[in-house]
Symmetry: D2
Subunit: 313 residues, 4 copies
């Protein structure tokens, strides 16, 4: 059961962690498959904690925007649940996918129904659901809009260079989309659906903004903007459960074991962790481990959680 | 963050649940692969809550012994961690296994290292570790001993008929053992190792006993018998994390989503759920769903957790 | 070692087979995934034998055009080998694929290199090779051209309705193309490449035409039109070997076992068998078995080969 | 269609090949998983051709006995077919297995029915069938007996050191046996069945003996000892078909493509090829490629077949 330290104590621990992370030699490798991501300097590190009330507490490069990548899947899921509610789960499962490789293997065995909304095919189905309910005419950027509202930061944008890179290198995601189209689990145009997906992955946010935007996951949904239809206390608990079991690809079990908090990572190097009833944590450093999670963000949040006694278990 | 209701409130909810479960028509099917299990009447249902202090609160058939089956994997893991500590994780992983079928597929791809200690091959490696440190001469029943100590119930026994059934029908588990022997991840005699595994699966406990025996997982390890070497606060948190991500086979994600608590199920129809800082819950009913989890035990614990506001998220 | 019966004997056996096939009750099911194919009447059956020299000998509906579908993969392979020779095998393997499902599983494990040129992803790579060397400007229909030349039948055409159906329902093949594009094994535009592939599948030929067009595989390449660059004696032997091991999807072993001749089937219900040094056989009937091979075409060719002592073994 | 060169021409080509193979630098690696096999000197090479009539023609180390290993699966299949005929195919398939790894994957998907009799699980089922019909009391060595009879060489024996090695290192094969026992496709005692299998793999024969013993596969069954119940012309054709599609593990397609003859290889370095109507070829050299086939035996037989125009296609 998480402790409730005060802001001064948190600030002190964050400052100390930022100093120690600056000295870390083993920083992983920056994602290379998207040229735009590969340019981010390896020596960046930022961290932010957004308590239930008040301003985020930050240290390091916590104001520097980075590509949120797969972390956007959490926001997209909120949007889609707002549109179709629990019927979404007829098209996407809620189980860990198990193997690194089996996104497409699993799709073939399970007739086009992705294992969960946090693997790429699952997120593509979520994009399809959103597109079905919010056409480009109605709202071309519903996920971006939600991020801006949740973070109270209208200046959050899509990095157009990253987006162009995603489109240019997105053949594997297009393969997934066509596969699910063949199985009847994508209903819109495959090109449009994947572009929506690439666009949400290319949103840029800072640790501070991302901590503010994910705080609603720690409050049981309370305090979230009233017009965010997808946010109910039950849904918030369930989003946390999904993050715990599926949030860090095929390292989700390992992350749950080490950190004991619901987490969601992105290949931009960001990592979100939720401390229910206390607040949200975001750490960022662009160097990744072999499973695609940020080496220092994991280390920093593990250290922070350990020092402040934050674990759901 | 879990609520802390008083005993009277819990008793009232348990009584109500027991009445409602008695009237449930859809009770699943009793496991048929072991003849001894198939004989248990489908109409049984029991439930128990062991708060941090004091006696378990019970309802229904909570004093009736049942075969704990895979729930024994939690106790065996405690014993093995007591012997070899974190070095165990060199031989067993900590990730969900993903697919129902892939125990042996995954073993082949990952060269004999099971994905986690709660799938059969992982539990067989755990048995091998225990056998290495506690031979039949030293202690033929270390897992049973732990159950007796934790539940303070020296009369807990192995059901010899179930054990004989397990041995007689255990060829698939022997196949797993020989496969890992070939890969160098089993060191003892395959026959002895699997017999140890079959023996622990055949332990019989009641809901009351099992709730008492798993209470240490809710206390952060405090209060557990001092000579249980495997129990430290950190280990307890990690056992809970493993139960959350891997405790219910390939329905673990679904169970986390619905119940929001670390759980462990067995094909005998038992289900354990841990409410950190509050206590442990055990429900039992022998009818299973297609994934091998008890239909009514899941339903009962989901209902209980919902009514008492028990969720880690 | 195949016998060399005379034309009268062959005619007599073909006539008898046609009569018997007309009376067969178990005719399989017409392919339903393409609406245009589903309309072909189930009671059709044709058979033709093209001896090394002279006119094909025919019986039943042997003059009726049908969709050659996967049989086109043999002709496309000849065209591609003519362009790039043995270097083709750096991009496509020569092994049976094993499982019905594993086209895409195998692609993922083997980094986008299809197992052989007779499964869909392999044929799509072959189309990509042809497109690279014969753009739409140079020759929009190189596979059709080859069929016309080999059969000496300039009236052979693409069925435009079938082609439109293939394009409309081809998402799974597009998924394969994008997957291989992501792995670098498709170089052209995925839409154009798959259209070329759909076009070749939609070629219509009769048993008589197809027997004439595949006769070169029985002659060791001799007698084939001099400007068919892909046809050398060595290549002909190897095409036969590929048909023997991979020509009937995941029933190739079964077909080799039963018939003992190199064969290639298509879901249009056609089946080609080669009797080296003797001639080629084509049978057609639209009803398929579960593995996608024509029930009566298989039965007829098995019977024919048995009665005339035609086997390579 | 294979040519029929005379004995002098064959001898001359064999002599030339033996000289060239002696000078080959790239000889592969000797199988290391069985210590007894690893001791065989890498510089050995032998070759023999057994024409339909008369003595085998030999060159190199063709009189030196080597471990026939998987080549024994052909003889065992003949014995089992003699006992149960075509009903064998209810328990073993006739398709290539596809992937190197999928022996056990495939077993799991296909409920314990091995893909073909030339992969290990298939051969273990064949051993089970033989054991069912010829107990240790009736005949402890039926496969050895057949080899002796076919080669007319009563001095052929089992290498007891190799056999002991096989038993000591055979855990993976025992895993396969237990897996099939669990699925009901092994009926005897797993230990006895695998011992029978290890024993047949440990038979030692020379190229000369093995060529003589496999000659019946080139004669359409004629001339084989009258009391070999499993040998009929139809069965001989089908054995050849199985060797063509499944005889060299997951390189069977490649071998068919390069050599164009039915072949069967063993990890002892032996390779048998059948030229229907002409005779049988055996080459041996202990160094293997990555797929477990002898580098020089493949090269030598490819060269021989090319020079003498031997191909079934």
């Amino acid at each position: 059961m998480p402790n409730q330290p005060d802001g001064t104590e948190i600030q002190s621990v964050l400052d100390d962690i930022a100093i120690r992370m600056a000295g870390e030699a083993d920083r992983g490798e920056v994602a290379s498959y998207i040229p735009e991501l590969a340019r981010v300097p390896l020596n960046r590190f930022g961290i932010a904690v957004a308590p239930l009330h008040g301003e985020p507490i930050i240290a390091g490069d916590a104001e520097m925007p980075f590509s949120i990548q797969s972390i956007s899947k959490v926001f997209a899921l909120v949007v889609a649940l707002g549109h179709v509610g629990a019927s979404l789960w007829r098209r996407v499962g809620r189980e860990p996918s198990g193997d690194p490789f089996n996104s497409i293997v699993q799709l073939e065995f399970e007739r086009g129904k992705p294992r969960n909304p946090f693997i790429n095919p699952g997120a593509i189905v979520v994009s399809d659901v959103i597109l079905e309910h919010q056409s480009d005419e109605a709202d071309p950027h519903p996920v971006l809009d939600l991020c801006q509202r949740l973070a109270d930061a209208p200046d959050i944008t899509v990095d157009e260079d990253v987006f162009a890179s995603e489109v240019a290198t997105g053949d594997r995601n297009r393969a997934l989309a066509y596969f699910m189209l063949a199985e009847g689990n994508i209903r819109g145009d495959a090109t449009k659906v994947t572009e929506r997906y690439f666009r949400q992955c290319s949103i840029e946010m800072s640790c501070r903004q991302l901590a503010a935007a994910t705080r609603f996951l720690a409050t049981g949904g309370e305090g979230a903007d009233a017009d965010i239809a997808g946010v109910t206390p039950e849904r918030v608990r369930r989003l946390n459960a999904l993050m715990m079991t599926c949030g860090c690809y095929d390292a989700s079990g390992e992350v749950a074991f080490r950190i004991g908090l619901p987490c969601k990572s992105g290949v931009g190097g960001g990592l979100v962790a939720i401390v229910p009833g206390v607040g949200s944590i975001v750490a960022w450093s662009p160097g990744l481990d072999k499973k695609g999670n940020s080496v220092l963000a994991l280390k920093a949040i593990e250290d922070l959680a350990h020092r402040l006694g934050w674990s759901v278990f």
